[in-house]
Point group: D2
Chain length 255, copies 4
């Protein structure tokens, strides 16, 4: 069970910084110290190792969270606080067939691919080839690429799929695809949307009223981190105050 070439480790330095690394025959440098990644072969997760200049490093097992936070980014990613909630609202789990439009850097794509398992499938539309390539790379890296069908296309009218178990829209004008989302969904199944502005929320809500959708929910999630000194428990000074508004609705057959 010891580490081998190609394994991923989350390297944590003594100042609490994390680096997601693949083990291969090359060096890795932090601002303080360096290690040779090839030397990690034969080590174990959880081990303490020492840098060339005496810095302490831990070899942690990357969790889904770590993979999400460390995807290569070409766009603003959807954050774990939002992804976790989206997965539950959309019921993304083993064996599900789900569709997203606008994969961006692929953080949500990755989380969905992880959760649908080998029997499930994620269909991911993205009009920008450069984003799609980065998303593919991020999925490839964690071995989940085969669970995703990427389609490099701008959808205006309709998705190819029918009877999918969930649809998620992450694009500038998601209202344009609310009808397409309705057509692709199984009856009674959930649609999800993320948008950064309240003007877009308003526009989406307006369009949702025009189609057979019910059970509409608009939420935002705030994540507040705390300092970890047991004698001085308090929130951190600053936080990310906004990522996006999440909109959910369920398809019905008529209205």
């Amino acid at each position: 069970m010891s580490l081998k070439e190609g394994d991923f480790v989350l390297l944590q330095s003594s100042d609490g910084k994390n680096y997601l690394l693949e083990i291969k025959s090359q060096p890795f440098h932090t601002h303080k110290d360096s290690i040779f990644l090839g030397d990690l072969v034969g080590k174990n997760y959880g081990d303490l190792i020492w840098g060339k200049r005496g810095e302490r490093f831990y070899l942690l097992r990357p969790s889904l969270f770590d993979f999400l936070m460390k995807v290569e980014r070409a766009t603003q990613i959807i954050y774990p606080k939002d992804i976790g909630y989206i997965l539950l609202k959309l019921g993304v789990g083993p064996g599900k067939i789900v569709l997203e439009c606008g994969c961006g850097s692929g953080a949500l794509t990755l989380a969905m691919a992880y959760m649908v398992g080998k029997e499930g499938k994620v269909i991911s539309y993205e009009k920008e080839l450069k984003f799609l390539e980065i998303a593919k790379k991020n999925l490839q890296k964690v071995g989940l690429l085969e669970r995703v069908i990427f389609k490099n296309r701008e959808v205006r009218e309709s998705f190819d799929e029918r009877e999918v178990e969930a649809v998620f829209l992450d694009l500038k004008e998601p209202w344009i695809l609310i009808k397409a989302g309705w057509e692709a969904l199984k009856p009674g199944a959930p649609l999800g949307i993320i948008v950064p502005t309240t003007n877009q929320v308003s526009h989406c809500l307006n369009t949702l009223e025009d189609y057979p959708f019910v059970d509409i929910e608009v939420v935002e999630l705030l994540l507040r981190k705390y300092k970890t000194n047991p004698e001085r428990v308090r929130p951190e000074d600053r936080m990310i105050a906004h990522t996006g508004f999440l909109i959910f609705a369920k398809k019905v057959n008529e209205k």
Copy 2:
């Protein structure tokens, strides 16, 4: 694909209230109207049906979120906003073996059982038989009971398991089991804890310092709902301001 006896529907009434129901030969009453559940056989998800007194109802497909919100409750449940984040931090997905202590009403248990799939397993310790029975019932209802190994026991020293991929503690004095959690975990794997008070956060952080854990994070998640009138987009007047603080850490082999 039409509905049959034993299927679950999320019945939504015209005032937006949701009811999670199993289709069987019996009536169901809201404060306004009633339907005979047996009549739903042959209907489809997404259908609009009419109550005996003319009320409109939609037959929605319950998502994981709906099952979580509608578990039978004997205790305060862990909310979806927290569950989603916990699943990502603990990497709970298809094929994983995870352990929790303190299942309460089983909301998190259910979410974990859903995500680990057929190849995964959830081990769940609970000292109170009555909670364990309710959790079992909640799992049974959604057909996920076989993915969970329930243990009705108060753990003081040690869990039976070793090399599990994640441990979650939801009990009054979780610090008592931090050592047991460390022993049960795979090296480099994550531990999660939920506690309602800052005094408990402080106590947990203190104990975590005594064992080989790193990458410690304390967070809280706030879910803010918005009204869905497109002409009057605004947060709802009131919100749940607090459920619990989440603490995460990763096991290392030495400190």
Copy 3:
């Protein structure tokens, strides 16, 4: 310095409920007990007294906060969390002449009247006579009525005043009066607006762009209460999630 007829006391019962009362010859009943208010003459602030059925009550000195929370309400009031910030942004203090349009129940009016002192003045426009009467009553009660000039009129074009030191708008379509606000203000002085919806925020921002205003700020304030048990410090379960968005800007002479 002992209490006399006409004084106000904040009566606190043992369950933490507060009642703002004027001392006069009449009884007062809570759901648990009763006292005769006339008996408070000769008592002192801070005293513990006993109800007829043995309930403990404290005689507290009402602060501005208490007067604000206990105004008679005909409308949604502006809350102290917002009022405090508004006073600072508008610089409402001793000797200032400030104008508001839409006094509602008069909570902000009261706070402004309190702060401007004997030398200052609050001009308050309100089109609804019934609200104006309630606001007057609330101001009268605390002896601050003479600091306010109430005007029962719907303003469409222009305020009567010029060179006021701050203007605050609390009405459904505040954008209609942004021009009138500009005309009434001293150069460089602040305008404040409160609105509940983001659509209104958007509308106000649009109109502010059309007039010589700069230093525009849009904020919301969230007040989170904590339980007061020292062994179990934690936020309360529920909170008021939304009262309104506050918009501020400063008048300039040209743009």
Copy 4:
């Protein structure tokens, strides 16, 4: 009414940055441009002026808020969101005599001095001479120094004053002075405390239980700023997540 030497202006540059400046015969430089402050004599608040290199600047009238945000800082200051609420809870207004211990850089001191007017008084204890000097300078600058009695002393047992209308504590171990605060206050009058950590909140609550205080409240205030583009209304990406917890209580004569 035109500007003269010694007046304060809030200079706003075209990128929205604000500078609080006193008019005197000297130059002022931003990173983009410069103006000669002496040239502002004879201008008016609200005027648009041009820098030497063609940059646009507005001459705004500084409000209390601006003076607070621009105090010279030697310590973490108390923020306006907290100050506004503190003033209301403590009833700080014209004619009041209030006491604070720990003036820091004097932001709250300044706000209190502004609000108590010419008839009121602020007594301010500060053990660190360097902080007291900075606070004095900040008060001097806005012409409010004469309303404050500064005392450069570490209080351990007792304040000199009795029958003050409010007491505010801003120091590391405020519990040490809860008894002193009780002695200094008028019966029924409010005590306020600010502390950054929950451990300190717990300690304060514990001590408050030992003295005759009731009506205890612990709160925190969160200020969320929004972007001001009317087509894209949304919270700013980041916010200050924590400044301090505010604790309030009222003195009673016995418990």
